[in-house]
């Protein structure tokens, strides 16, 4: 490493690896990837989220997955956790619904009530 620019490159790469710990993450999108979720299409929903986030270059948003959420009748289930706010749980998600959630909730801060199935813990 010879310059501050070299250091910056290493820093950015390392920050990406540490995103789960949420140092610079304001919004976490957690997709339920239990067996029932996957059977109902959770993987496609997750892919759609990843594409939308990366297209819009939203660096303070983390997309991750979790296990069985226990809400099998409403799979695929997605939690949106914005710092300082109550957790919002969307149910029956599809890749088509993802764009609306990203534009209205993630970018503009307004949840999409018709998709919400639960809030808080």
């Amino acid at each position: 490493m010879k310059t501050l620019a070299d250091l910056k490159k290493i820093r950015e790469k390392a920050q990406e690896e540490m995103k789960l710990r949420g140092g610079n993450v304001r919004i976490k999108i957690v997709v339920g990837m239990g067996t029932s979720g996957i059977a109902m299409g959770a993987r496609e929903v997750m892919k759609a989220f990843l594409e939308e986030i990366s297209q819009r270059n939203l660096t303070d948003v983390l997309v991750t997955q979790t296990g069985e959420k226990g809400l099998s009748s409403m799979e695929p289930v997605v939690d949106v956790i914005i710092e300082g706010e109550e957790k919002i749980t969307y149910g029956n998600m599809t890749p088509e619904k993802v764009k609306k959630v990203v534009v209205e909730h993630i970018v503009n801060g307004k949840m999409v009530s018709e998709y919400v199935v639960a809030s808080g813990n």
Binding site: R11, E17, M18, L20, G23, G67, E68
Partner: protein
């Protein structure tokens, strides 16, 4: 995107390790492996997260859920509940006053008043990964200093920040650097003093183990400021993990080009190595430390000449404490004004304290200077264990003094504490409730200093021993009138005449407990009584005849057979033979035995009889 979906941070500071956190990590790995989940979970061993009482401690991301007192038996359920079902495992979470589970660190009362500067990465990053340190802004400060500032500029910035030595001396850091940089000698050294020997202090250990690169970066900033090209970490041998981590950090830095020639393309070249102690508290004193590195006995030398003038191998040397160095990267990154906006007029920034004793939340805390003792004990510390009464707090370990209830609103900074006869010291804070005997505590600290005295100068070598002899007589019931005044006389003399800081401060615990708890000393001497029943010769055990059921269990368990009686007459302890082991009280099924302060009259008479007998023989 990484395959991992969970970052599991396990606190592996020496405290949690001694409570079994490494074994827990192994079990978690085994359970995850059996369930085929190992590749999805990142398991990170971090440095100290702070709250020793809650240990072993873990944090699970991305939710940031804080788990306390995790045991091997909890592992299966924890993995099932949280890692598989995605639900926080309530049983291992802290609860607030309304019994609601507290999820994350920032909601925990222990952390509310803390401001992490030196400790900002401890418990968050993997200390064995250079990239994680860099992700948190590591080495940015060094790069900026080397490419945009001159050594003189660096010293000016340090001066503006108001940083003072965190090892106990409180000497202005920039001034030390100025003195060394003034020398025209080409060879200069920087030494990081990691010989933290104060009983009750583990701030430096946690920093060296939990964020080694931070200390290395700080050392390099210091070295640049004084034009030194070689650094030594002197770490006590009782800290094997700290030694390992610093050695690894040095290797990693070398590989990355952060150590060696022309760092960041500048003219600054630097190399560092680790040196260890071998079990001598006095080597925390800078001249003794230097002699130890030179391969000699750790005897301090008279100052002047100061190390900044003639130090290691006769060359200008700056010796800085671990915490002092750990503050530098953030000061140089965020600026002097940011640092000096915290704290008080004379004591800027934050300080790491090791809060121990009878407080509910023991552990490592970092708070802005100027916080009051009350806030530290009751808000950060959570108050006194068992809700007993607060009696005193000892600050500064064996060099420090105690403060009492009347001082709870004293701000914790260098000058305010000194005024009250106490001392910030390196940061050890021991909180004591009303079950502690202040005479006994002072005697303990004095014993420590006597053991660790290097023996070079008479006031310390002989004087402290004489003080200890008096303290031993007082606590064993042989104190006489005049002892207190003699302790004061000796103490003040030793403070004035000793060669180094060890002797100059060793009388402090005794002098300050006499100042605030003189009545306890007088009770010990005149009434042969220890009101807390700690001093065994000044208390006795007694069987309450009204409660005794005559079961004889105490008599049977007594190791010296000093209890006799019968079911009808009940049982009685023969006081002169009693060795105060407390077994009888432990085994009594009806709690008929209790501790009473005061040497028992039978023992007093027996002592008197023996004394007269000895006199007649002589």
């Amino acid at each position: 995107m990484s395959l991992k979906r969970i970052d599991l941070l396990i606190c592996c500071g020496s405290g949690c390790v001694s409570a079994g956190s490494l074994k827990i990590k192994e079990k978690i790995q085994a359970v995850l492996d059996a369930k085929g989940l190992l590749h999805e979970i990142n398991i990170i061993e971090t440095g100290c997260m702070g709250p020793c009482d809650y240990g072993p401690v873990m944090i699970v991301y991305p939710e940031g859920i804080f788990y306390k007192k995790v045991s091997l038996d909890d592992v299966e359920e924890l993995v099932e509940e949280h890692f598989i079902k995605g639900r926080p495992f309530k049983r291992l979470m802290l609860q607030d006053e309304e019994k609601k589970a507290i999820s994350t660190q920032k909601d925990i009362p222990f952390y509310q008043k803390q401001v992490k500067v030196a400790l900002s990465n401890c418990g968050y990053i993997d200390p064995e990964k250079l990239e994680e340190y860099i992700a948190q802004g590591g080495y940015e400060a060094l790069g900026t200093v080397l490419t945009t500032m001159s050594p003189k500029d660096a010293i000016v910035l340090a001066e503006k920040s108001g940083l003072r030595g965190r090892g106990g001396g409180g000497f202005p850091t920039a001034l030390k650097w100025k003195l060394a940089s003034g020398s025209k000698d080409n060879q200069k050294y920087v030494i990081c003093n990691g010989d933290e020997g104060d009983p009750g202090a583990f701030m430096d250990r946690s920093l060296l183990e939990g964020d080694p690169h931070r200390v290395l970066e700080g050392m390099m900033i210091a070295a640049y400021s004084v034009n030194a090209n070689k650094g030594f970490f002197y770490i006590r041998a009782e800290y094997p993990l700290a030694i390992k981590r610093i050695k690894l950090a040095i290797e990693q830095a070398k590989e990355a080009g952060l150590l060696g020639k022309n760092i960041f393309g500048s003219k600054f070249s630097f190399d560092a190595e680790v040196r260890t102690g071998a079990g001598a508290f006095v080597c925390g004193e800078e001249t003794a430390l230097i002699h130890s590195i030179e391969g000699l006995r750790g005897h301090p030398s008279a100052k002047p000449p100061y190390p900044s003038d003639k130090g290691l191998w006769g060359k200008p040397t700056i010796v800085n404490n671990v915490e002092t160095l750990a503050n530098l990267p953030t000061i140089f990154l965020k600026g002097a004004e940011w640092f000096s906006s915290m704290g008080t007029e004379t004591s800027k920034g934050t300080k790491v304290f090791a809060l121990t004793g009878d407080v509910k939340n023991t552990g490592l805390v970092e708070v802005p200077m100027g916080i009051t003792l009350r806030e530290m004990i009751y808000e950060v510390g959570g108050g006194i264990v068992d809700d007993r009464d607060f009696k005193a707090v000892q600050l500064g370990g064996p060099s420090g003094g105690c403060l009492t209830k009347e001082h709870l609103d004293v701000p914790v900074d260098y000058e305010s504490l000194k005024e009250k006869g106490a001392m910030m010291g390196s940061g050890g804070v021991i909180v004591m409730n009303d079950s502690n005997c202040m005479v006994s505590i002072a005697k303990f600290f004095l014993e420590f200093s006597v053991e660790e005295s290097c023996g070079k100068c008479s006031p310390c070598r002989i004087g402290l021993k004489q003080m200890l002899d008096i303290m031993e007589r007082i606590t064993s019931g042989k104190g006489v009138d005049g002892d207190i005044d003699e302790l004061i006389r000796l103490g003040e003399a030793i403070k004035q005449l000793s060669l180094c800081g060890l002797g100059q401060t060793a009388p402090n615990p005794v002098l300050s407990t006499i100042r605030y708890f003189r009545n306890e000393y007088e009770e010990h001497i005149r009434e042969k009584s220890c009101s807390t029943s700690v001093c065994l010769n000044l208390m006795h055990f007694i069987i309450d005849k009204n409660k005794c059921i005559g079961c004889s269990l105490c008599a049977r368990k007594c190791p010296v057979n000093c209890i006799s009686g019968s079911k009808e007459d009940k049982f009685i302890i023969s006081q002169p033979e009693c060795v105060k082991c407390g077994t009888c009280m432990e085994v009594c099924p009806v709690k008929a035995i209790s501790k009473i302060p005061q040497m028992h009259p039978d023992v007093k008479s027996e002592n008197e009889r023996l004394r007269k007998q000895k006199e007649n023989e002589e």
